[in-house]
C-alpha cells in the first residue's frame, strides 16, 4: 500500500523535496516554537527572579557541560558523515558513524546524569529556586529529546537498516531526516549551554 504513495524516495518535481523531508522540517518548525516558549520563560524567570546566580558557573559545572557540548557537536558531525557514507554507497562506514553518534549521545546522557545526581546530592531540586526550576526543566526536556534521538538512531542502525537493501534511496532519506532532527537537538543545546551555564 505504501508503495502507492508517491515521492517517498524521490523528490516531488515541483517542490523538490520528498514527503519525509517536508514532514521533518514541519515537525522541527513546531519544535522551534516549543523551545521558543521555553526560552521566553527563561528570560522572564531570570529578569524577575530575586536569587538568580550572578554567573551560572557559580552553581553549575562548566567543564562537564563544555565536554557535553563537544560530545553533541561531534555527534552532529558523525551523523552527517553517516549520511554522506550512504551517499557513497558505503554501508560499513554508515554503521561506524551512526554507532559513534549513538555512543556520543550516551556519553552526553552519562554526564547529564553525573551533573543531576551531584545536584540532588547537594539537595538542589527543581523546587529549590527559580534558577533550578528552569535548569532542570529545560535540560530535562532537552535530555528527553536526546533519548528520543537515541531510540530513533538505534532503530536505524539496527533493524531499520535492512531497508538499505530493498529501498536504498528511501533509507538514505530517513537518515537525512534523523540527522536533521539530531542537528536540531544540538542547536538547542548550543543556546542552552551559554544561557544556563555561562551567563
Amino acid at each position: 500500500m505504501s508503495a502507492l504513495i508517491p515521492y517517498i524516495d524521490e523528490p516531488h518535481p515541483v517542490t523538490g523535496v520528498t514527503n519525509a523531508k517536508l514532514g521533518i522540517w514541519l515537525f522541527l518548525a513546531s519544535e522551534v516554537m516549543l523551545f521558543g516558549a521555553l526560552f521566553s520563560t527563561l528570560i522572564i524567570m531570570r529578569s524577575s527572579a530575586t536569587d538568580w546566580p550572578a554567573h551560572g558557573s557559580d552553581v553549575l559545572n562548566v567543564p562537564l557541560a563544555t565536554l557535553n557540548t563537544v560530545f553533541l557537536i561531534a555527534s552532529s558531525v558523525t551523523i552527517v558523515l553517516s549520511w554522506a557514507a550512504l551517499k557513497m554507497k558505503d554501508l560499513k562506514k554508515f554503521k561506524l558513524n551512526m554507532g559513534l553518534t549513538i555512543l556520543l549521545s550516551f556519553g552526553f546522557l552519562v554526564i547529564k546524569y553525573i551533573e543531576y545526581s551531584s545536584k540532588f546530592h547537594h539537595e538542589h531540586f527543581p523546587s529549590t529556586s527559580t534558577f533550578y526550576a528552569v535548569y532542570f526543566t529545560l535540560t530535562g526536556l532537552h535530555g528527553l529529546h536526546v533519548v528520543g534521538g537515541i531510540i530513533a538512531n538505534s532503530y536505524l542502525l539496527g533493524p531499520g537498516s535492512k531497508m538499505w537493501f530493498t529501498e536504498p534511496e528511501r533509507f538514505t532519506g530517513r537518515i537525512e531526516c534523523a540527522g536533521l532532527y539530531w542537528h536540531f537537538v544540538d542547536l538547542v543545546w548550543i543556546f542552552l549551554f551559554p544561557a544556563l551555564y555561562l551567563l
Binding site: 515521492y7 513546531s30 516554537m33 523546587s127
Partner: protein, 579 residues
C-alpha cells in the same frame, strides 16, 4: 465513467478488504477514510458528552439548588448539582467541546477523510503516523474522561486552567495536563500529515490556486495547530512541574491558600501562563472556524452551481486570517493590567483581523446573490452559518476594544459571542458537512424530512440559548456564578436563564432526529445514482461512493480550477477533460 469505475473499484476494494483481518481494517487501520470515520464517531461521542455536562449545569442555572429531576441522585446524594461538580463540569465542558469534540471532528474527521480525496491522493502521506495521531487523541480522551473518576474528580479550574488556582487545585488538574499532552501530540502529528499530503500528493494539474477552498482552509488550520500548539505544550509541562516537582513558574511569592502561606520558592509569574495559553488558544479559535468556512464554501458553490465569488480573495483572506490570528492573543488579557501601549497594539491587531473575516462572509454572500439556490439540507445549514457566524464575529468587536471590554469582560456576553462562533457557526457547518458528504461516505443519502426537522428545531433553539446571553452579559452577570440569584442584578436577570435552559434542552431533543438519521440511513437511506449526486466539481466526486481502499483505481488528473460552473449550470468538474 461512473459505471465502469464503480464496478472496477468495487472488486478492487473487496480484494483489499479480505486480505486484512478485522482489527487491521477497522481498529488499527491506516486507511485515511477509516481513520476519518474513527475520528468522526469518537468526536461526536465527546460532543454529546460535553453537551450533556452543560445540560446538567443548565438545570442548576435555571433552578438554583433544586434537585435535578430523575437523574440528579446519580451525581450527588440530594440530587442537587454541588458547586464542586459544577466547576468540574464547566471546566470539562470547555475542554471536551474544544479539544475532544470540535477540533477532532473538523480537522481529524473531515480533514482526514476529504483532503486526500480532494487532492486526488491514494491516502495520507504518512498513513502510520495518521493512525498514531488518532490513537494519541483516543488516549487523551480516555485520560480526560478517566479524570472524572479520580479521587477528587476532574479538573475544575476552567478550560483555561489559570494559575495559581490551577496549580493548587486537586489532582484532576494533573490528569488534565497529561491528557492535553496527548491531544497536542495528536494534533501536531495530524497537522504535519495534512500539510505534506496537500502539498506533495496533489495530482497532476492541481496547482495551489486550483485547490478547493476546503483544502486551503485545512492547510491553514494545520499551520495554526503546528505552530501555536507547542507553546501550550511548553506551558503544560511547566504547570505540571509546578504541580508535581514543586517549582514556581506560575506562583508568585507570598501566596496564601486557605489562610496558610504556600511553601514554595515563589518568584513565578501567573501572567506568563496566560500569555502562553492564549498564544495557542487564540489561533485555536480560528482552528475551530476555518474548516467550517471551508465546508460552507464547498456547499455554497455546489448548491448555487456558481463559481465562488472572488476565489483568490477568499484564499488570501483565509491565509491572512490565519497569520493574524497569531498576533491578537493578548486581547483576552486586557484586564490583567498590561498597560496602554500593549493594549493598544492588540486592540489594533484585533480590529485588523475582523477585515478578512468580513471579506470571507462577503464573498459567500456575493456568491448567493442572484443565484438560484437549491435548498438541500446541507445548504440550509450552510446558509444559516452565515448570519450566525456574523453575529458571533460582530459581537466580538466590543470585546476587542479595550474600553468596552472593561464592562463586558468575564460576563455572559463573552460566552454568547464565543458560542455564536462555534455552536451555530462551526457546528452548523460541520452538520452541513455530514449531510453533504454522507452520500460519498456511505453511498446513501440521509433522510430529507428528518434533516429539515433537525435544522429548524436546532436553528430556533440554539438562538434561544445564546441570544439571551448578550442581554445577561450587558446586565453585568458574571459567567462564573454557580447561583446568580444571590446578587440583586443577577436575580433580576434570572428569567433569562430559564429561557436559555429550556432552549438548551429543546436543542438536545432536536439532535435526536439527526443521530437517528445518521445511524439508520447507513442501511436504509436512498441510494446514490452516481459518483457525483450533488453535482460537485472537486475531486472527491470522481471517486465512487464509498471510495475504495486506494480512492482512485484509475489515475485522475485536474484540468481546471474548482467551481467552474458555466452560465447554463453545465457541470465542469475539475477531473473531466472536455470543456
Amino acid at each position: 465513467m461512473s459505471n465502469d469505475t464503480h464496478n472496477h473499484s468495487h472488486s478492487h476494494s473487496h480484494g483489499g478488504a479480505h486480505a486484512l483481518p478485522f482489527w487491521r481494517k477497522y481498529i488499527f487501520s491506516t486507511d485515511h477514510k477509516t481513520i476519518g470515520l474513527q475520528y468522526g464517531i469518537t468526536a461526536i461521542f465527546f460532543l454529546l458528552f460535553g453537551f450533556g455536562l452543560m445540560l446538567l449545569m443548565r438545570w442548576q442555572l435555571a433552578y438554583p439548588k433544586q434537585a435535578i429531576p430523575l437523574i440528579g441522585k446519580l451525581f450527588t446524594e440530594d440530587g442537587v448539582l454541588s458547586p464542586e461538580l459544577y466547576n468540574q463540569f464547566g471546566a470539562m465542558h470547555g475542554t471536551i467541546m474544544v479539544f475532544l469534540g470540535v477540533v477532532p471532528l473538523a480537522v481529524g474527521a473531515f480533514g482526514n477523510y476529504l483532503v486526500p480525496l480532494q487532492v486526488g491522493a491514494q491516502d495520507m502521506a504518512f498513513p502510520k503516523l495518521n493512525m498514531l495521531s488518532y490513537w494519541a487523541y483516543f488516549c487523551g480522551g480516555v485520560v480526560m474522561l478517566g479524570s472524572f473518576f479520580s479521587p477528587n474528580g476532574a479538573a475544575a479550574s476552567g478550560w483555561t486552567s489559570y494559575p495559581p488556582l490551577a496549580v493548587v487545585a486537586d489532582n484532576g488538574q494533573s490528569l488534565w495536563l497529561i491528557g492535553m499532552v496527548f491531544l497536542i501530540t495528536s494534533s501536531l502529528l495530524g497537522s504535519v500529515n495534512t500539510i505534506v499530503t496537500a502539498i506533495q500528493l496533489r495530482v497532476k494539474g492541481l496547482s495551489f490556486m486550483r485547490w478547493p477552498i476546503f483544502v486551503w482552509a485545512q492547510v491553514t488550520t494545520a499551520f495554526l495547530l503546528l505552530l501555536a500548539f507547542p507553546p501550550l505544550e511548553a506551558a503544560g509541562v511547566l504547570q505540571l512541574m509546578d504541580r508535581i516537582a514543586g517549582t514556581s513558574f506560575f506562583l508568585p511569592s507570598g501566596l496564601v491558600v486557605s489562610g496558610e502561606a504556600l511553601k514554595v520558592s515563589g518568584g513565578g509569574n501567573p501572567i506568563l501562563w496566560q500569555h502562553l495559553f492564549w498564544f495557542l488558544a487564540h489561533p485555536e479559535v480560528y482552528v475551530l472556524i476555518l474548516p467550517a468556512v471551508g465546508i460552507v464554501g464547498e456547499i455554497i458553490a455546489v448548491n448555487t452551481k456558481k463559481p465562488l465569488y472572488g476565489y483568490k480573495t477568499l484564499v488570501y483572506s483565509l491565509v491572512f486570517l490565519g497569520f493574524m490570528s497569531f498576533i491578537v492573543w493578548a486581547h483576552h488579557m486586557f484586564m490583567t493590567g498590561m498597560g496602554v501601549t500593549m493594549s493598544t497594539f492588540f486592540q489594533a491587531t484585533t480590529m485588523i483581523i475582523s477585515v478578512p473575516s468580513v471579506i470571507i462572509l462577503t464573498t459567500y454572500l456575493l456568491t448567493l446573490w442572484g443565484a438560484s439556490i437549491t435548498y438541500t439540507v446541507p445548504m440550509l445549514f450552510a446558509t444559516a452559518f452565515l448570519p450566525m457566524f456574523a453575529i458571533g464575529g460582530l459581537t466580538g468587536l466590543p470585546l476587542g476594544l479595550t474600553a468596552s471590554d472593561i464592562h463586558l469582560h468575564d460576563t455572559y456576553y463573552v460566552i454568547g459571542h464565543f458560542h455564536y462562533v462555534v455552536a451555530p457557526g462551526t457546528l452548523f457547518a460541520l452538520m452541513a458537512g455530514v449531510y453533504f458528504w454522507y452520500p460519498k461516505i456511505t453511498g446513501r443519502f440521509m433522510s430529507d424530512t428528518l434533516g429539515k426537522i433537525h435544522f429548524w428545531l436546532s436553528v430556533i433553539a440554539i438562538n434561544g440559548v445564546f441570544m439571551p446571553m448578550f442581554f445577561m452579559g450587558m446586565a453585568g452577570v458574571s459567567r462564573r456564578l454557580y447561583d446568580q440569584t444571590i446578587y440583586a442584578h443577577g436575580a433580576a436577570a434570572q428569567p433569562l436563564n430559564v429561557i436559555m435552559s429550556v432552549s438548551a434542552w429543546i436543542l438536545a431533543v432536536a439532535q435526536l432526529p439527526f443521530l437517528y438519521n445518521m445511524a439508520t440511513s447507513w442501511k436504509t437511506g436512498k441510494k446514490v445514482d452516481s459518483n457525483n449526486p450533488w453535482g460537485g466539481t472537486t475531486l472527491e466526486w470522481a471517486a465512487s461512493s464509498p471510495p475504495p481502499h486506494e480512492n482512485f483505481p484509475t489515475p485522475v488528473e485536474v484540468y481546471r480550477a474548482p467551481y467552474e460552473y458555466s452560465p447554463n449550470k453545465k457541470l465542469l468538474p475539475q477531473f473531466v477533460q472536455e470543456a
